[in-house]
Symmetry: C2
Subunit: 249 residues, 2 copies
C-alpha cells in the first residue's frame, strides 16, 4: 500500500521555476477519465488554464486566494450537459437530465474525475488544491472560459510543483466520527464533544479562534468562514446561474 | 506511474469464498479521509453494510441490480449535516449550510471521499461498483440505515474480490472530447459525431441498440436508460427527501 494517501495534503504555493508540461496534464487526464461515471455518459468537461493572463482573469472569481494567485495551472472541472445533449439532438432525441438528478449525478461524476486527476497528479509529485469558491462565482468563471449553455463549473483544482516546505497531513476527525457499521450510530453529546476535542485543541485552530474574537472553533466555522447569509446568498446566485444554463432544480 | 488507473473497470460479480475483512475496510477508510474536503468540515459519513440480511434489505432500493445482489460489502456514502450541525449547536452557534451551496459542497466532498476509498480498494485488489440508484430511492436507504435528520445518501459503492474473468477497461470518449485548453472549444456537428463514432461502433453498444429496438445509441440513453419523465420524477422525489432532511435547494 502506497503510504501517500494517508499523508497527502493540499499545496497552495508552487515552484515557479518548474513549469508543468502540457503533456503531463494530458497524460494524467487520459488516465483519470477511466474513473467511474454514471452510465458512461461522461457528463463533464475540464478546462485547463495555464497562460498567465488567463490565470489572472480567473483569479478574481476565486477572490485571488493564494492557490490561484500562485498556480502554474488551474483546471476547472465542469458538469457538461452540452456535449451529451448535442449528441442526442444530432441523433433525433432529447436528453432529460437538466434537473436535480442530472445535476447531482453530474456533480458526483465531475468530482470523481477531478479527484482521480488529483490522486494521479500527487503521485507524480505535483501539489494540488481545490477551490471551493467555484460554486460562488460560477457565472464569472463561465464567462472567462467561454462555457456554452449547459456547462456548469463545479470544482477548480490548482496545480504546480510544491514550493512549500514539507508538512504533515491536515488534521481530520477520528475515523469513528465518520464511519458506521450497519446503522448510523448518532453519538451522545459527550461523545460528539470528544470527537471534536483534538481538532479544537490544535494550536493553529486555537489561534484561529483568538484572531476572530470567537469563543470556539464551531463559531469560527458558522459565523466567520461559512455564515448562513453568505451561503444563502450564493445559493440563490448559483441557482440562477444553473437556470441560465438550462438546469432547473 | 501505476498502470492501474488507465485499466481499471467496475466489478459487479464478487468471490463469495473470499470475505472482505472489517479491518481492511477500516484501514482503507482511514486513509481515504485524508482526501481533500471543503474547509475541513468533513460533511460526510459512510455506513458500511456487510451482514447478509442488511444487504438484502438495501437491495430493493437499488432494484436488486447484480452488484448489490452479489456484494460482500456495500458502503453508502452520505452528505452529513447532522454531525457538524450538532457540534455547532453544542457550541452555541447555528450552521448555515442547509441550502444549495451546502448540498453541492457536500456532494462534492462525499464523492471525493468515496472515490479515494475506491482507488485504495482497487489498488488492494478489490473490485468496486458505484450504484447510481442511490439518488432515486434515498428515503428507503435512509430508513434501512437509520439515517438521522440532515444525513442524505449520495453514492453507494459495492465491494468484493472479483469473481469475473479479467476484462479490459470500459470504453471512454477520446480525451479531446472532454479536455479544453484555455477556452471551451465547442466541436462542430461533424467533429461531435466523430468523437462518439468509436463508442457507437462497439459491438456491445450495437447489440444494445438492437435489443432496445432503437435507431442509435443516443436514443437508448435518452429514451430507455435515462428517460426524461423518470429523471424528473426522481428529481421531485429526491428534492422532497432533501426537504424532509432539512435541506432546501
Amino acid at each position: 500500500m502506497n503510504n501517500y494517501f494517508a499523508n497527502r495534503r493540499s499545496v497552495r504555493v508552487y515552484d515557479h521555476e518548474r513549469p508543468v508540461p502540457d503533456s503531463l496534464i494530458h497524460s494524467l487526464l487520459e488516465q483519470a477519465i477511466h474513473a467511474p461515471n454514471t452510465g458512461n455518459m461522461q457528463l463533464y468537461s475540464v478546462i485547463v488554464t495555464r497562460e498567465p493572463e488567463r490565470l489572472a482573469a480567473l483569479a478574481p472569481a476565486h477572490y485571488s486566494q493564494p492557490a490561484i494567485a500562485n498556480a502554474m495551472v488551474a483546471l476547472t472541472f465542469c458538469l457538461d450537459l452540452n456535449r451529451f445533449g448535442r449528441w442526442c439532438r444530432l441523433n433525433g432525441t432529447e436528453p432529460g437530465l437538466a434537473n436535480l438528478q442530472g445535476f447531482t449525478w453530474g456533480v458526483i461524476d465531475t468530482s470523481v474525475f477531478a479527484q482521480q486527476f488529483c490522486t494521479l497528479a500527487e503521485m507524480e509529485g505535483l501539489g494540488t488544491c481545490y477551490l471551493g469558491t467555484t460554486t460562488y462565482n460560477a457565472a464569472l468563471i463561465a464567462e472567462a472560459l467561454h462555457l456554452p449553455h449547459g456547462v456548469i463549473p463545479v470544482v477548480t483544482v490548482t496545480v504546480g510543483y510544491p514550493a512549500e516546505p514539507e508538512a504533515g497531513p491536515t488534521d481530520r476527525l477520528p475515523l469513528e466520527a465518520v464511519m458506521h457499521f450497519e446503522e448510523y450510530a448518532d453519538p451522545t453529546d459527550d461523545e460528539l464533544r470528544a470527537l471534536y476535542a483534538p481538532q479544537e485543541a490544535l494550536e493553529s485552530n486555537r489561534r484561529f479562534v483568538a484572531e476572530n474574537n470567537k469563543e470556539n472553533l464551531a463559531q469560527v466555522f458558522a459565523e466567520v468562514r461559512y455564515p448562513r447569509d453568505q451561503a444563502e446568498h450564493f445559493s440563490r446566485v448559483y441557482k440562477e446561474f444553473l437556470q441560465s444554463q438550462g438546469v432547473s432544480l
